[in-house]
């Protein structure tokens, strides 16, 4: 088995601040994803990466940057935190390259609050 570790678990930021969320997986999976979870809106894809140094935009990429320097890690940067923003950011990985008939394995999430 493997695990996805997201750090930090909780993140409190100030309006306009640049914030970075990190994700590590030890499944040796090719593809990694960042999703944003808002109450009542489900999971929306921000970025995904099918291999090291690859980046693909999802439906919600505006306001975010991502980086995949190693196969095992994928980081997400909120470029300018929005006041009163509250969401859970979920990292996931899957075996094959790109979205397909694959199981996504999720981390426990980073809970962001912006003051």
């Amino acid at each position: 088995g493997g695990i996805i570790t997201q750090t930090p678990k909780f993140l409190i930021g100030q309006e306009g601040q640049k914030l970075t969320l990190k994700c590590q997986q030890n499944f040796n999976h090719d593809t990694m994803y960042w999703y944003r979870q808002d109450s009542g809106k489900g999971l929306r894809l921000i970025y995904y990466s099918i291999t090291e140094n690859d980046l693909q935009k999802g439906d919600l990429s505006e306001g975010y940057d991502a980086s995949r320097e190693k196969k095992s890690s994928f980081s997400l940067t909120v470029t300018s935190a929005q006041k009163n923003e509250m969401a859970v950011f979920l990292c996931a990985s899957s075996l094959d390259r790109g979205p397909s008939q694959n199981t996504l394995y999720f981390g426990a999430g980073t809970r962001l609050s912006v003051l």
Binding site: G42, L43, P99, Q101, Y105, F106
Partner: protein
């Protein structure tokens, strides 16, 4: 646009009843439909999935019924237990897309 729609935001059933969670989709290119279960404070985890060539998939107390012509599916949880209380996400994949519904929060009362 919402490509995957779950008809109920929340559902409450008594212990022992069958909980039925409904989902519909728009894109005919979707060919794989997983359901994910999420407990508070955790990430979603795959519960059960069906491919579009099948109309039913069963795994213990959990069954997916799939109607390709109507583009809808449902998750049936037989003999619901309080431990089944969680949020359930219907998802659809195909053509390099993996789309989630908004989720149904299920509460099972003992």
């Amino acid at each position: 646009q919402q490509q995957v729609r779950q008809s109920s935001q929340s559902l409450t059933v008594w212990e022992g009843e069958t909980a039925i969670l409904n989902c519909s989709y728009e894109n005919s290119a979707f060919d794989y439909f997983p359901w994910y279960q999420q407990f508070p404070g955790e990430g979603p985890a795959l519960l059960i999935a069906i491919r579009s060539v099948s109309d039913k998939k069963e795994d213990g107390r959990f069954t997916i019924f799939f109607n390709k012509r109507e583009k809808n599916l449902s998750l049936h949880i037989k003999d619901s237990q309080p431990g089944d209380s969680a949020t359930y996400f219907c998802a659809a994949t195909g053509n390099y897309k993996y789309v989630f519904g908004a989720g149904t929060r299920l509460k099972v009362i003992a």
